[in-house]
Symmetry: C2
Subunit: 129 residues, 2 copies
């Protein structure tokens, strides 16, 4: 089953709440995660939001994108890692993000995107711990 | 089951190939889709790639993000619509994107992101046509 892209949906729970509201930290961490995966970084956009300091950020890479959205008040971060081609190592990015955000609980859903010859849908493998 | 975010994973197949390689068209269409959903636009990043003119683009909105990645050579576009809160209407964005990219086949996977009180995972409702 060949897919054009691999999309990792990462749920990080019970994270370090201070880090989840630190825009600079999150920006540096997401960029480091891109590099850990071997991605070529092309552009980025990061913003923080009142009242709890939640952060949204996206990095466009030559191989698709990384995104993060945080809810410090719940200790929660939603992360997506969308890559195409076979040259990247997104698992390295996942490991770095779980470690740096100090997530005590996480789960990963892996979606296959762009399966062109199947009658319709993706999808998925699932793991959690 | 309360979730912090709703994430629509949209697979568009058999699209108009010329539109899939037109960065300005895709940028305008993704921004229109954000507005159709009622989103507040904060930032964006769009890039095109040789040799087929595939485009990657992300729009950060106050309520999370929209992204598009296209493969004109296969008539395929991968779109994500991640929204939080209850004030948006992402279905309006989906309708606009399917229409404007002239997708003859599409499927949607809806993921619930940030379900904090469940033992672990999301996830999903699925529809296709």
């Amino acid at each position: 089953m060949d897919a054009l892209g691999k999309h990792l949906i990462l749920e990080l729970k019970d994270c370090d709440r201070k880090r989840l509201s630190d825009l600079d930290f999150l920006r540096n961490t997401l960029l480091s995660a891109c590099r850990a995966a071997g991605a070529i970084i092309l552009g980025e956009s990061f913003h923080s939001f009142p009242p709890y300091g939640g952060v949204s950020g996206v990095v466009i890479i030559a191989e698709s994108h990384f995104s993060v959205h945080t809810w410090p008040e719940y200790g929660y971060a939603a992360i997506d890692i969308f890559t195409c081609g076979n040259s990247l190592y997104p698992e390295g990015a996942v490991e770095l993000l779980v470690r740096e955000l100090q997530a005590r609980d996480h789960s990963i859903l892996e979606l296959n995107r762009g399966i062109l010859n199947s009658p319709s849908e993706p999808w998925m493998n699932h793991e959690g711990k």
